[in-house]
């Protein structure tokens, strides 16, 4: 405790961190009327971070190649120490994140928190919901199991219902006519880089907006 204190002192002398900590953590006043339902947004962020870190670990052994993807996931589950746990956390975390995001949105909708001045909170939130489901969808193909294969097949069929461009949209998503190694590579890139990058960008916007307007107080 003494050392912590000393380090904090030294940092405070140089960077004035005490007022920052006080303003944002120790002396931050939260409206009394905020209930436990207000925590779902923060929890979604927490699960997102868990997904980022467990995903980074899985990346060390995963091979985005149709001939080796399934083997590499099996290797993670059976040969890497604690690999089964990290893999499970990542798979379950995806579902948990969607549930939490839904609960968060349900509260915002129920208490009509989306009204002025928070319209764009809602818009960015909906974009985040879409990105989150896309993360789940692309991640589902990666273990290259029968379930993932058919899941991706059915999922990529959906945009086929769009008039005129539907067909080419499906082909674009699949990188061809069928689910193949090209699809796997595309989904992989989406899953580990493109979508997480977009999610991070929208999250930053989402949080900055909340800092400006403050959390809504229920009446």
């Amino acid at each position: 405790m003494q050392t912590v204190e000393r380090i904090t002192d030294a940092l405070d002398e140089r960077y004035k961190i005490r007022p920052l900590i006080e303003k944002n953590v120790t002396k931050k006043l939260v409206p009394r009327t905020l209930g436990w339902a207000a925590c779902f947004g923060g929890l979604s962020l927490l699960v997102f971070l868990i997904q980022v870190f467990s995903g980074a670990l899985l990346l060390m052994y995963y091979k985005p190649d149709p001939a080796r993807a399934w083997d590499s996931v099996t290797f993670i589950k059976s040969n890497v120490p604690m690999g089964w746990l990290i893999q499970r956390v990542h798979a379950v975390g995806a579902n948990v994140m969607i549930v939490l995001v839904m609960m968060h949105m349900a509260r915002v909708a129920y208490f009509k928190i989306y009204r002025k001045p928070r319209e764009l909170h809602w818009v960015s939130g909906v974009i985040l919901l879409i990105l989150t489901t896309q993360m789940a969808f692309t991640g589902y193909l990666l273990p290259w199991t029968q379930l993932s294969f058919w899941g991706a097949k059915v999922g990529t069929e959906i945009p086929g219902a769009v008039p005129v461009v539907g067909e080419s949209l499906v082909e674009w998503l699949r990188r061809g006519n069928v689910i193949s190694g090209e699809t796997l590579g595309f989904f992989y890139a989406m899953h580990v880089w493109i979508l997480p990058g977009m999610i991070s960008a929208f999250m930053v916007m989402h949080f900055m907006m909340i800092r400006r307007t403050g959390i809504s107080r229920p009446l």
Binding site: L57, Y61, S78, V80, P81, M82, I86
Partner: protein
């Protein structure tokens, strides 16, 4: 800490107790997360486990090299007609994987151009040592390594 807590007092204060509890909970959670993560970064159980390799001589083609993994290293079985030869496939210079050239009948190293003959002896390039010979036996028409 805070001023209202007398430092060095024998009587545990309520605040100190709560802080201790929170600290303990934090440390336990951190440990529960850190343990699997650190373990994950460790060495995976190897899938090989095989220490003996058996290759039927009949399967070997003349003047062809056959590369196999053996105890974590790459070795090459070379059959030039009479008896098979088993060599380490990593160059005696800096360890790159040497490639068999069955036209020129030499091993060629892609890294700095070392050349070895079919016995693994250095021919040219920055090397003076031969490719390490791997001990093997011929038993019942098989090359048995290890």
């Amino acid at each position: 800490m805070t001023q209202d807590e007398p430092t060095g007092s024998q009587k545990p204060s309520r605040r100190g107790f709560v802080e201790l509890c929170i600290g303990a909970m934090g440390a336990t959670s951190a440990g529960a997360v850190a343990y699997p993560v650190v373990a994950f970064l460790g060495r995976p159980a190897s899938v090989e486990g095989v220490t003996t390799i058996k290759v039927p001589v009949a399967e070997l083609q003349e003047d062809q090299a056959r590369y196999v993994d053996w105890q974590g290293q790459q070795i090459v079985i070379l059959y030039t007609g009479r008896t098979p030869k088993v060599l380490s496939a990593s160059c005696s210079h800096l360890g790159c994987l040497v490639a068999w050239d069955n036209v020129k009948h030499v091993f060629h190293c892609p890294c700095h151009g070392a050349v070895f003959d079919d016995q693994g002896r250095p021919v040219s390039g920055p090397v003076s040592k031969p490719l390490a010979a791997v001990p093997f036996q011929l038993s019942e028409g098989n090359v048995v390594i290890g």
